[in-house]
């Protein structure tokens, strides 16, 4: 395991914090690490900051992520990585579409020209909307507490997507599916960062696989074209035991 000492903590929403720590490693946007809390667990987390002082942005979902959100400056953080195929970066205008904590992995892609569609359950959970220039961000909330009331894909409807050189989408699989279905017939290049159960992070356990591809190695980023050939995308997943279950239609 690699370890580092936390040099900064920033609360970015009521349930989400960014943790900063020095780590000299070349990391590209879209890559992730497996963060270990000794005695508790190990979970995959995208790098939200990829400079010399790296950063992760975690939302509390369960015991391990919750423990991470409670860490303090000076605490030691254990992890391994970086893992995964990074986003393919392009020149030109890009659109990022992030749902919930999915915005964390998109953060390193954002520059002053980037347009974003940021969705969350509620206003307080909209992440990193301040990173876009005024007018470059469309907010979407389930409860309508900010921006458009609806789901991520509703935020796309007012945009001329063909204007963008590339779209990058990150969030829960059902959100990815709805975005994919919406842009399927539109002539715009897109890359999706998928999220599935990840136990090993290094391509051996099969828990993260989708259509034979390992998210942790071949992904988590996949092109629109790759997604189009997948039977399991948005349709099936395997649980912790490996039991196949259908996703809600």
């Amino acid at each position: 395991m690699i370890h580092s000492t936390i040099t900064g903590i920033e609360r970015v929403s009521p349930t989400t914090v960014s943790i900063r720590f020095p780590w000299e490693a070349a990391v590209l946007p879209g890559q992730f690490i497996m963060v270990w809390i000794p005695g508790l667990g190990e979970i995959p987390i995208s790098l939200s900051h990829i400079g010399d002082i790296k950063g992760i942005t975690i939302k509390s979902f369960g015991p391990t992520s919750e423990a991470l959100t409670k860490m303090k400056e000076g605490d030691r953080i254990f992890f391994r990585g970086p893992y995964g195929r990074p986003f393919t970066q392009v020149k030109g205008k890009i659109l990022v579409v992030g749902g919930g904590s999915g915005m964390a992995g998109l953060l390193p892609l954002i520059n002053s020209d980037t347009v974003g569609v940021v969705s969350a359950r509620t206003k307080d959970e909209l992440l990193f909307v301040d990173r876009f220039l005024e007018g470059n961000v469309i907010k979407v909330t389930d409860d309508g507490s900010a921006g458009i009331k609806g789901i991520a894909v509703d935020g796309l409807k007012g945009l001329d997507l063909q204007k963008f050189t590339k779209m990058y989408i990150c969030g829960p699989e059902l959100m990815l599916r709805s975005v994919y279905r919406y842009i399927r017939e539109i002539d715009v290049d897109a890359e999706f960062s998928l999220e599935r159960l990840m136990k090993c992070g290094i391509g051996v356990c099969d828990s993260c696989s989708i259509d034979g591809y390992q998210l942790c190695r071949d992904g988590p980023t996949f092109s629109k074209k790759q997604i189009s050939g997948m039977h399991e995308f948005g349709a099936f997943k395997l649980t912790e035991s490996g039991k196949r279950i259908a996703l809600p239609k």
């Binding site: 395991m1 370890h3 497996m34 270990w36 000794p38 005695g39 667990g41 190990e42 979970i43 030691r76 254990f78 391994r80 136990k199 090993c200 992070g201 290094i202 391509g203 051996v204 356990c205 099969d206 828990s207 696989s209 989708i210 259509d211 034979g212 591809y213 390992q214 190695r217 039977h231 399991e232 395997l238 649980t239 912790e240 035991s241 490996g242 039991k243 196949r244």
Partner: protein, 300 residues
């Protein structure tokens, strides 16, 4: 390609490389893809009677020379596994169903169901904890091994492979106990432990794990050689094979085919194609006309 063909217990494999149990073989689509990309066969994750979620991560630790894993035998339970076998079989190559249990009857029931799903052979994972013994494994009790193998052989028509654990004083004794099996698969992982000195704790949530990869290659070779020499049985070698030369060492020690596991973490799924082509090159330049000629070539 026909240079590489081999046979184990009458099952035809287009090359000697089979995916080892527990690595990328929980999801039928993954197995199918691996077969399409060059594996000659796959062994499924070991499947038991009831659903198990396995241990919580960390379930693997990257150590020098390999991996330490304690996955905890996660599996959906045999009754939910038919779909995965079905998808894997779409590749048109052998799918070997691995099963684990605590006693004879459990193994027999699992084998019958695997056969029913269309598996081409059964692989018995004898490394699971012994229900009677404390801490020891089913595979360290020769009488139990004999009972399991003999009973299953009576009840299923497809070949039965017994996978042996190296965590015993005398593997030869167990190999002899598994006499009735059509072939022996050796070796499973070697028990180990890794500590993070900065966390001052074992890394794996289960504390102990199984060591695999290059670190165990010479241990596996020893068992294959010794058991082949003493029993003459058909053997599938496994443990630390990471390149063509490793595979050939196992073949020359007496393996008719080999399995690849941990190398997938180092080289990805293309390990199969890469190692196949390395074996072909070796055979051509060293003048071997078939895998069979190489099997046991290093034996006295």
């Amino acid at each position: 390609m026909s240079l590489l063909k081999t046979e184990v217990a009458g099952i035809y494999f287009e090359n000697p490389l089979i995916l080892a149990s527990g690595i990328l073989d929980e999801n039928g689509y993954t197995m199918k893809k691996i077969l399409q990309e060059g594996a000659a066969g796959v062994v499924t994750k070991s499947i038991g009677t009831v659903e198990r979620t396995g241990y919580r991560p960390p379930i693997v630790a990257e150590v020098t020379g390999g991996l330490l894993n304690a996955v905890g035998l996660p599996n959906p339970g045999i009754d939910s596994f038919g779909e995965e076998i079905k998808v894997a079989l779409e590749a048109g190559k052998p799918v070997i169903g691995s099963i684990f249990g605590g006693g004879v009857q459990e193994f027999v029931d699992l084998a019958i169901k695997m056969e029913g799903y269309g598996a081409n052979a059964i692989e018995l994972n004898l490394s699971c904890p012994h229900v009677k013994g404390v801490g020891s494994e089913v595979g360290s009790d020769p009488a139990l091994v004999t009972d399991i193998v003999t009973e299953i052989k009576k009840r299923v028509k497809i070949p039965v492979f017994a996978k042996l654990s190296p965590n015993v004083t005398d593997m030869l004794e167990i190999a002899i106990a598994a006499e009735a099996a059509d072939a022996l698969v050796m070796i499973n992982t070697v028990r180990g432990l890794a500590i993070d000195v900065y966390a001052r704790k074992p890394v794996l949530s289960n504390t102990y794990g199984g060591l695999s990869g290059k670190a165990i290659k010479n241990i596996g070779l020893r068992y294959v050689y010794e058991v082949k020499m003493e029993t003459g049985k058909e053997i599938i070698g496994v443990g630390g094979i990471e390149n063509a030369e490793d595979a050939i060492e196992y073949i020359m020690a007496g393996s008719s085919a080999v399995q690849l596991g941990t190398v997938l973490y180092k080289k990805g799924r293309q390990a199969f194609a890469e190692i196949s082509s390395g074996i072909t090159q070796f055979m051509k330049s060293e003048g071997f006309g078939s895998i069979k000629e190489m099997v046991g070539a290093a034996l006295p």
